[in-house]
Chain length 634, copies 2
């Protein structure tokens, strides 16, 4: 099968109750509040040049750098998130704010195209001298993504033109030529941004620059060594101690273990998959596949959270997945979705879509509160009640990452090629998809993720033969498909987890899909020592958790679920606008049996109780309280 | 009951196979090799003054201090350990080495009594300016303990006299008077050492100085603040961040949670208990009791290891007891024994003796290898095979702590008062104990800890009425006692876990004790999240572990013990000179069932197998390999 191309957010109108609520919240609450926060924290002001950027809001940390170097990226990501949200509903006030920011950027940009407000305002002579730590290309990447998104939604190209000039400057400055910097960014991001640009411009130079950054990474002599020496620093004193931190420890095609900072890793892998798709680079694709297996089979939380450790904001050893101290940064789950979608477009294997959906409905959605103005940076799988959502963060990367993902969720429903439409995600929406022969309007109707019953109306402009590929989720056992009321499932050809239906489709054909959604008990690999003797509850794509707010009078540190007993699922229309809840038979240890004892040999007396669970992504929307995903099982 | 007094190591001759092997190993291997290591690492040379102390062997660490400031304490602890071992068998070579060291100390001591070789050799003008970090009084404490022990074993008092002069200097320098330093040591130790001195001298000034240090600790304005300012440092920049680290965050009588550095805490509590015993200070005793409950009911590993975290070498939050990363420093388990013995002498409650014995046979003995020249600093309860014993350490505190404890184990068998003998520990030995009316020779015969059958021959010089208190260990259910062949257990009065037998004892009376020793399955409090779904095996005082060396062909990361099945115990005479081993029915998950899967909902197929366990303290004597104490249970 020819590889697939994305169907982007501009072609997909989300309907029903689930996603429109999130999109409206992002547009009406999140985007305006994020702008206010950026004003309050001097981030917007920092774009006003040539006057010096404001004094440090947060002190330099123990690594002697400040999160202020990220500020351009925060602005860029906000523009990107806002642009996606505007495709849901245009909003003059937000657009005016973006245009105002664009004016500032236009004024700040140097004649040679360079545009990084931290360096321009503070130490312009030092630009491009610390790629390892100071995030210049990272900031450029996010601004570039913002520029592309704003252009896609509004057609306005002023910011895109600014960024095209900046990219031209990079093309001059970076490369293997005599007077060029033979380097790359310590925080990958520019690579995937250049691929997004390439998808709009189709200019080979944009693809080439991304390839250069990917190909050069990890080459010896190591660029970050050379750069540190040139700065007068000792490269051995790199605060992160290892170049695994930024995945430059070896050339990317030789990498087969997922190491270091989780977000950097995921952004890089996404770019690698993009380049593999554009160029047919088999070594890149193969590296992506090895890395995919490594991360999803040894290093991923059941919520698709990534990176157990706060120390390196990233990965540790295989099967090390502590729950209470899980870092599992929202950004990393978002970035996993980027990567998964690109892998999916390469091979249309539902294994990728399963992880994409898992990350979307769990580790990613958890990062944004119901009210749209509170966030999680880390997404632990257990809490003693000390975790809480915050309104802003010294490093606000996750705020805009979750809003841009939610606002652009339309990107992840479909892919296409000349005669194929692949349906990856389910949920009410109307999509307009161009095949070679015709335009097809697809209309999904579903109360997803609460129900697995989906109606898909297929409306080609004219009767046309093409293949409709329907993802059968890994969790959906006994899926049924009917076409125009007749069973079809048994005649569908299964291709890597997709039911492929080739026929001459005509206006008004109805595909009815039924994915059974029983509550599943999920167990972790025995090597995950933190989950031994524990079970997680899952229904469809949603991982559930037990939270104090739903279990008054139950000490959640003393409970266990009873094995093999049925768990009830019921849609609670009154909770958070309609939410599935689970009721599970459980036992609660008697505290008095343990009074004064830390260890004992006698079996513990335990009282019967019932635990109520709700989707993990909704936790901590009713204040801080105790929570667990992995519940002991008796 | 009047409080008890210790019966010290000089009065107890250890017999049988267990302890004499350890004592002989310490005397013949450990003590000489430790001296060699101290020569090799310039520690002995550093006592030669006035020439400057040798260059730093190990670089200053990130807190900007060097372990070299501890060197006097290492020498003192070595003298102490050697002195105890010499009571087992005198050895001229070792005594000559001690006397040589004493000559160096005599030459180094200033006329005013001051004696700290680090300061004298490097920056004498700075003495007593950084009590918080630089361990001067801590070093003095250890040298003092060495001096007392050497005097007790050999009667030689040159070192004792040196240290008496040093203590007199401290009495002048420290206190609440006008020209005195109103401070105390950052690392508690001097306090308990002064109590040991007081037990020999009965001079009130020695008790008073210890009381001053204990009473002053945590008083406001905080001494370490004042001291830091006087040095020109910012007290807020204390590298450990909190005075909880050294338990000076509040006055000791107000402390009810065990916090901070574990060894400092235990040394302090031991001194507090000592002072409570000497002075009847009810507030101190009450604080000790609260702290005892807190640590043993919320913060102690099943091996009696203390302090889960390497970061502060100490305590974290209640019930936080990670196994693989357990710090559980050998020194902390040793120090817990010190404290437990003092609590035991206050109240003769077997709860204290149970913990004392648990620590002795598990968290403490594990610190010394079979060959006597390898050590553990940290005592994890699980290993992926990356842990190994070492021959020396930049901070060799644990080496001499475990040797001094093993060599002085005779201290922990008995206590006495005018008409009571309390038997705390079991194992073959002959003890000579003075009551008011008579001397009693006790002769225990037992293959302890392998067997719970004990014969105790009671030999008073003349027929005398007194109370013999026999500890009934918490693990011993269904204990039986016979006197001269007749059942007596039912007539014994149980007093806080001790069977009290009052009668007119005569030469040759035989008390036969039988403590059943079935294998127990031990479960942790449900709040210990790391032990959920896991079981530990215990027999008598010994905690067992499963180690790779005993389980070839079994993947210890994929096993679980089968609940409710009997576990066999058998003495293996061929292993480590005779060792109990356990055989337990188990299941091993099939790796192929998990190939490519990190999570799954289907029950896992598992194969039957048998796990072999050996006493925890013996692990890692056959090279590094995988090990677990807490085994998943199915």
């Amino acid at each position: 099968m020819a590889k697939l191309s994305p169907v982007d957010f501009t072609a997909v109108t989300l309907e029903g109750r689930f996603w429109p609520e999130r999109l409206e919240t992002v547009l009406a609450k999140t985007i305006p509040s994020q702008f206010e926060q950026m004003v309050k924290h001097n981030i917007i002001e920092s774009l006003d040049l040539p006057k010096p950027v404001p004094p440090l809001t947060f002190p330099r940390n123990h690594h002697n750098f400040t999160t202020q170097v990220f500020w351009d990226s925060d602005v860029g990501k906000w523009i990107e998130a806002a642009s996606y949200a505007l495709s849901h509903r245009r909003d003059k006030d937000i657009e005016d704010k973006i245009d105002m920011v664009v004016e500032k950027l236009a004024l700040a940009q140097l004649d040679d195209g360079y545009l990084n407000c931290w360096y321009l305002g503070r130490e312009p002579e030092k630009r491009w001298t610390n790629l390892r730590d100071n995030h210049e290309l990272y900031c450029a990447g996010h601004m570039l993504e913002g520029a592309v998104a704003y252009f896609q939604t509004t057609g306005r190209r002023k910011l895109l033109d600014i960024m095209l000039r900046y990219v031209d400057h990079m093309i001059v400055r970076f490369g293997r030529g005599e007077n060029q910097i033979r380097g790359y960014c310590g925080h990958q991001e520019i690579e995937l941004a250049l691929l997004k640009l390439y998808a709009v411009t189709h200019e080979k130079k944009h693809l080439d620059l991304a390839r250069y950054f990917i190909d050069e990474r990890g080459a010896l002599p190591h660029y970050f060594d050379k750069e540190a020496i040139a700065r007068g620093d000792d490269p051995k004193k790199f605060w992160a101690k290892t170049y695994e931190y930024n995945q430059s420890h070896k050339p990317v095609r030789e990498q087969d273990e997922v190491v270091g900072h989780a977000v950097r890793a995921m952004y890089m892998y996404a770019a690698m998959a993009d380049i593999a798709a554009e160029t047919g680079d088999a070594a890149l694709k193969s590296a992506c596949e090895k890395l995919w297996h490594d991360v999803t089979e040894k290093r991923m939380y059941v919520t698709a959270g990534l990176g157990p450790s706060a120390t390196n904001e990233g990965f540790t050893s295989p099967y090390d997945l502590p729950n209470e101290t899980a870092y599992a940064e929202t950004c990393a789950s978002v970035a996993l979705i980027f990567w998964a979608k690109r892998m999916l477009d390469l091979d249309c294997d539902s294994a990728y879509a399963d992880i994409l959906e898992l990350s979307l409905f769990n580790g990613t959605l958890s990062g944004l509160s119901r009210d749209g103005v509170h966030y999680f940076y880390a997404n632990p799988l257990e809490s003693d009640g000390n975790h809480q959502r915050w309104t802003w963060h010294p490093c606000p990367c996750c705020t805009m990452n979750v809003s841009r993902l939610v606002a652009s969720v339309g990107n992840y429903f479909y892919s296409r090629n000349s005669d194929t439409i692949a349906v990856h995600l389910y949920g009410s929406n109307t999509a307009s998809i161009k095949l070679d022969g015709t335009n097809v309007t697809l209309k999904q109707t579903a109360d997803y993720p609460w129900s697995g019953k989906i109606s898909l109306e297929v409306n080609p402009e004219i009767k046309t033969e093409f293949t409709l590929k329907l993802r059968v989720p890994g969790w959906a056992k006994g899926a049924k498909v009917k076409i125009n009321g007749k069973n079809f499932g048994h005649r569908a050809v299964m291709e890597r987890g997709y039911a492929a239906i080739r026929r001459a489709w005509k206006m008004g054909d109805i595909v009815a899909i039924d994915f059974p959604m029983p509550v599943e008990r999920i167990y972790a690999h025995p090597r995950v020592r933190q989950d031994v003797g524990r079970v997680a509850l899952k229904r469809g794509p949603l991982v559930f958790c037990v939270e104090g707010a739903d279990n008054p009078g139950v000490d959640l540190s003393m409970v266990s679920l009873v094995a093999d007993k049925p768990v009830k699922a019921l849609l609670d229309e009154g909770l958070f606008g309609g939410t599935m809840r689970l009721w599970a038979p459980a036992l609660m240890s008697d505290q008095s049996e343990w009074a004064g004892k830390l260890y004992q040999s006698d079996p513990k007396a335990a009282k019967k109780t019932t635990l109520t669970a709700l989707p993990y992504y909704l936790w901590c929307n009713r204040g801080s309280n105790r929570m667990l995903v992995w519940v002991p099982e008796t």
